[in-house]
Structure formats: structure tokens, C-alpha cells
């Protein structure tokens, strides 16, 4: 029924089956939108956040998806600036996923703040010393850049490119895409870092506070590094998922290899930097604030195993598996390693958001726990559903994987 919109030469499910696939995600989206509506209409008491856990599931997941969405800028950087041509096979998909991650995060932020209609106040009365101001500006600019990078994909749709205005605009836009890739890299550098800086500057939270290098706490640089390192792994992981769900091969093995290589080497650098930072933190920074680092891990379930898991099990291990050719060559190891790397970054973001707030600061404070309400979970799942729907539509009607046709005709040995 929608054949005229389908890219030529690609096998796509019949329209009815496609609608059937979208149905459960649409239902999930509807439930989540209702949960978001409740939060907007009745107030944030619909969540389980409170005065001590001012940030909860949403902020944690926002930080995680933004870190994972770094695959968009980094793939663009590697392709357009470092000229790694093989990545043209996944850059379109990476841009769509990046767009989904960032637009989803911004949507969640719109319900997370108490007065969403005052969002423009940050632009009118900016506090340039605050990391959150920097994040706000950067995210807004970057989402615009992502939309501009998404546009050519849409304009190249079979029916749209018949219109000369769309065709010509896409053609000229594509010629200057390197500019947007560079701007995207610049913006990503700053907002990934500032998200780390959000926590690193909190002197009142010795668990999160870090020493500064130049104007920024070390978490600024660690967040950038971890985001850049995990970006390619997330692109790899999502491509693998799409291949499994669609039942077809979409990229050549060399692309996976390149993504894994970049991710692995960067992860190794990150693990080294993180280890150094951790040593400084437990031997110097904490004591300077009058806290013994053992107290951070004195409360179940956040024992020292959490630190070990984050840096070694979900950091060093996937880094080695991805970086070493022997393990990288085996897809049964490669793909789980990529997922592990993503889990490592998710753990790091979790620890920085939730554990920071759970730990007591005053002598007479208690360790607190928090579990999200169904409204919080449902709202976030709505974002996931939105992502799946948008990606499915993009996959169906746009040329997300340039190698798809070639591989369908002549599959790799």
C-alpha cells in the first residue's frame, strides 16, 4: 500500500505487518504519554522523587541515553573529519539514533522540571558559572544540529527527492555536512563534559566531587571520554539489534570491526583515566572534604563491588575484548562486549546520579533509598517506544543502511 514510499530494491514487510509491529509500541507510547500527562497536570508528586532524592530515574536515564547517543557525533566525526569511509555504512542509522536519544532526553527533561514553561528563563538569565546552563545551551544547539543532519536522510526519500527544491537543498546540504559534523563534535564535547561537571562541582557531595583541571572537574573529561568510547559500541549494538529484528544483514563485518576497534581503544584510555581519578579521589580529595572513602561503600547495596564492577567488569573487560583482534574477530564475543561497554557507562551514570544522593552528608543523616514510581517508568518507556517507532519508520522508508542492497544480493561469505 505504501510501495511508492519504499526505497527501491529493499525487501520490506507488507504494510499491514508493519502496522502490526508498530501497534504494541504505540500502546506503550500511549500509556507513557498518559503518565507524563499526570505529572504535568497533577505535579511531580506523581513521582517518587523527594527533597532528598531530587534527581531520580529520569535524570539517570537522561544522562545514560545522552552518553549512548554520543555515537552520533563520534561516527560523524570519524567519517567526515577523520575520513574513515567504512563508517558511511552506519552513519545514517547513528544520526537517527542520536536524534532519538537527544529528543527523548529533552522531552523527559520537559516533564522533569517543575515549571516547564519557564524553560526559556535559562536563556534569558543565564548563569555562566553553572554547568546546567552550559548543558541547556549545548543540548538545544546540538538537537538542532542533529535535526539538520537527519534532514538529508528524509529528503532523499524516493518521493521527496523527486521535487527539485528538496533534491537541490539535500545536495547542497550534503556538501557542507562536514561543518555540521564539526559543530556537532564541538557541542558534544562540551555537553558530555558538562553533564559530568554537574556532579563534579558538588562540594557538598564528597562522593561526586572531584578536583579540577583548568576550569572543570575531572568528571568533565571522564564523561567525554566514556561517551566517545561507548558511542561506537552503542552504534554496533543497535545495528546488531536491527539486523536481528529485521532478519537481514545490513553492514559488512569490517564496519563492526572498525567500530569495535575504536571503542575498545578509547575504552582502555578511559579505564586508565578513571582508575587514576579514582585513586586520587580515595586518597586525597575525599579526605580534604573530611570524609573517609570507606563510608561511601558502607551501605548496602552500594558496596565496593559496585566500584569494581563499574571499572573492571564493565570497563576493562569489554575494553580488552573489543581492542584485542583475537576476541574482536569472534562475533559471539564482539557483540556481548559492546553491550557490556554500554552497561558500564550506564552503571557509571547511575552511580553518579543515584548513589550521590543516597549517601548521607550531614552527621545525623541516614542512607536513603528510592525506587521510581510507575509514572516515571512509564514516561521513560514512552521515550523508548517513540524511539522504536521513529526508527522503524526511518528504516522502512529511508536509506539507513547503504550496504543493505549490496549485501542482500551478494551476502558476505
Amino acid at each position: 500500500m505504501d510501495e511508492r514510499l519504499l526505497p527501491r530494491g529493499r525487501r520490506r514487510a507488507p504494510f499491514g505487518r508493519f502496522l502490526l509491529w508498530l501497534l504494541p509500541w504505540t500502546a506503550l507510547l500511549a500509556v507513557g504519554l498518559y503518565a507524563a500527562y499526570l505529572c504535568l497536570a497533577l505535579g511531580l508528586n506523581q513521582t517518587n522523587m523527594d527533597n532528598r532524592f531530587a534527581f531520580g530515574l529520569w535524570i539517570y536515564l537522561d544522562l545514560t541515553v545522552i552518553a549512548l547517543g554520543a555515537g552520533a557525533f563520534f561516527t560523524g566525526f570519524l567519517l567526515y573529519v577523520m575520513k574513515k569511509r567504512a563508517l558511511s555504512a552506519v552513519v545514517n542509522s547513528a544520526v537517527v539514533i542520536g536524534f532519538i536519544c537527544y529528543s527523548g532526553a529533552v522531552s523527559i527533561l520537559a516533564i522533569d522540571v517543575g515549571q516547564p514553561l519557564r524553560a526559556w528563563f535559562t536563556f534569558w538569565h543565564p548563569n555562566v558559572h553553572s554547568m546546567l546552563t552550559e548543558v541547556t545551551f549545548c543540548l538545544t544547539c546540538y538537537l538542532t544540529v542533529l535535526a539538520i543532519e537527519y534532514l538529508p536522510l528524509v529528503l532523499r526519500n524516493r518521493q521527496l527527492k523527486r521535487r527539485p527544491s528538496m533534491l537541490l537543498f539535500e545536495f547542497e546540504l550534503h556538501k557542507v555536512m562536514a561543518v555540521f559534523a564539526l559543530v556537532g563534535t564541538f557541542l558534544s564535547f562540551f555537553h558530555q563534559g558538562s553533564l559530568g561537571g554537574l556532579y563534579g562541582v558538588l562540594q557538598g557531595r564528597p562522593f561526586a566531587y572531584r578536583e579540577s583541571l583548568a576550569a572543570w572537574p575531572s568528571t568533565f573529561f571522564l564523561f567525554i571520554l566514556s561517551a566517545a568510547a561507548v558511542g561506537p559500541s552503542f552504534v554496533l549494538a543497535t545495528t546488531w539489534i536491527v539486523q536481528k529484528v529485521s532478519g537481514r544483514t545490513l553492514v559488512k563485518q569490517e564496519v563492526f570491526d572498525l567500530l569495535a576497534r575504536v571503542s575498545g581503544s578509547l575504552l582502555l584510555v578511559y579505564v586508565l583515566a578513571k582508575s587514576v581519578d579514582t585513586l586520587v579521589w580515595i586518597n586525597h580529595t575525599s579526605f580534604a572534604l573530611g570524609v573517609h572513602p570507606a563510608s561511601y561503600y558502607a551501605f548496602a547495596p552500594f558496596g565496593t563491588w559496585a566500584l569494581f564492577a563499574e571499572i573492571v567488569l564493565l570497563g576493562l573487560v569489554p575494553a580488552l575484548l573489543l581492542a584485542l583482534p583475537r576476541t574482536r574477530r569472534n562475533p559471539r564475543v564482539l557483540v556481548p562486549a559492546a553491550f557490556l561497554a554500554c552497561a558500564g557507562v550506564a552503571t557509571n551514570r547511575f552511580v553518579m546520579t543515584v548513589q550521590t544522593l543516597a549517601l548521607p552528608t550531614l552527621a545525623f543523616d541516614r542512607f536513603l533509598s528510592y525506587a521510581p514510581s510507575w509514572q516515571e517508568t512509564a514516561s521513560f518507556l514512552a521515550v523508548v517506544a517513540y524511539g522504536v517507532i521513529l526508527y522503524s519508520i526511518s528504516f522502512r522508508y529511508l536509506n539507513l543502511f547503504p550496504q543493505e542492497r549490496e549485501l542482500a544480493a551478494a551476502p558476505e561469505a
Binding site: 511531580l44 508528586n45 527533597n51 532528598r52 522540571v113 517543575g114 553553572s130 557538598g204 545525623f364
Partner: protein, 252 residues
Amino acid sequence: MEAVDKPGGARYGMVIDLDTCGGCGACAVACAVENNVPPAAERTTERNGISWMRVQRLEAEGDARAAFIPVMCQHCGVKTPCVSVCPQNAVGVDPASGIVAQIPVRCLGCRYCMAACPYHARSFNWWDPDWPGRIVETLNPEVSTRTRGVVEKCTFCSHRLQAAQDAQAAKGGEAKAPEYTPACVEACPAGAIVFGNLDDPESEAARLAKAPGSFRLLERLGTGAKVYYHTTRDWVRRLADGRAAGDGRTHG
């Protein structure tokens, strides 16, 4: 908010005597009434209700003794964690009084300041404030109410300072920091809270702040808080501050 040095500026501060405080909570109630804190909604708990001032019980396990410590915004001076992190400049230190002032109409409700504050002095409006029926007549006209979704905290009753300044200006007096009394100070039946200009060597607050046995919470963070606590009892000091008086790492 940019600081403009005003002649006759002050640094208002507080000294709370933990040896006198009986934990009655009159200060907390008076604060809530004075500052139009809305009545708690149905599902409110101690963690999501609004309390600009809260009285915490200090007790050690296995020990029958207990003490009480009222905690509110400590009005940090040297390093203000909340001011530096607010993306909208909705918090600022008033240079004329040292009061850390909140602008509720500018607050976006991002709660970053709440994460930053080590004293957990800030409350968020998780509900729409509602004064049902005739309760609305108890509102204090000198203090603006806040909407849902914004952060609020102790202001050292700055509206009373404003009134005192207005009275002083009306009398045509010299620009000197006026004396005034916040609601909690007024309400305490034991007189445990002393309030005044810490920069005025004659004021009782300044004298008590420097007295032996006076300390500030989380001194090590160097926030320059203007709320001091005083106790002669070591065990109270240890429970409040995590270290005994003689530890030598704190600054009087």
C-alpha cells in the same frame, strides 16, 4: 546576581544553643505560618513535605540521651553551592545582608540546587499549594506564595528585614543595618536562637558565634555558613558534627 557594595551592609547570622533547645518545634511551626508554607497534601511524608526549618533528633544507638538540632538554610557566605549551580540565577547572595535569597518566580524547578545543598535545606513544591476553605485567611500578606514546581527555603525572614529597613528609612535614620527578629527566633520559648549581625562586634550573635563550644555544620566544606550551633556537651557535638570539640580541625 551581581554584588554591589552597599554602605552599612551586614552579615546576619544565627547561633542556636543546643543545650537549651528542647525540640518542641515551635520554631518550625512559626516559620511555616509566617512564610505561607502550604498545608501538607494527603500523601506528604517527611521527605517530600515542605519544611523550611526542621528539628532533627540527635541520638546515639543504645544511648538513652537525645538532643535536638533545628536545621534550616545555613546562608552560606564564602562558597554558596546553590548560587553557583542555579542555571537561571534564581538564587543570589544579597551583599547588603548576606542573606541567600531565592527568587521563586524565576525558579524553573530543576532541583539542581537541592542536589547541591549539603545541608538538605531546600524543599520543593511537589504539589500544587492549596489553602482550602478559610485557611487562606491565615496567609501572611508580607510573603508571596509560591507555585507548584519551584524550590523554596529559609530566607531569614527577609520580609521582616525589609519592613525594618522601610521603618528606618521612614524615620530618616542613617543607613545602618537594622535589627530585626525572624519568626523562629521570636517563637522559641527557650530563647535558644540568637539572631543578629555577625559583623557587629557588639551583637550577641557575633559574640556567641566566637564563644568556645560554637561550631558550624560541615565546617570542612568551607561554605562560610552563618548559622552557628553551640553546645558544651561533647556527645551532642559528636552527634551533630561527627567529631568532638577537641578535634582541632574546625574553625570557631
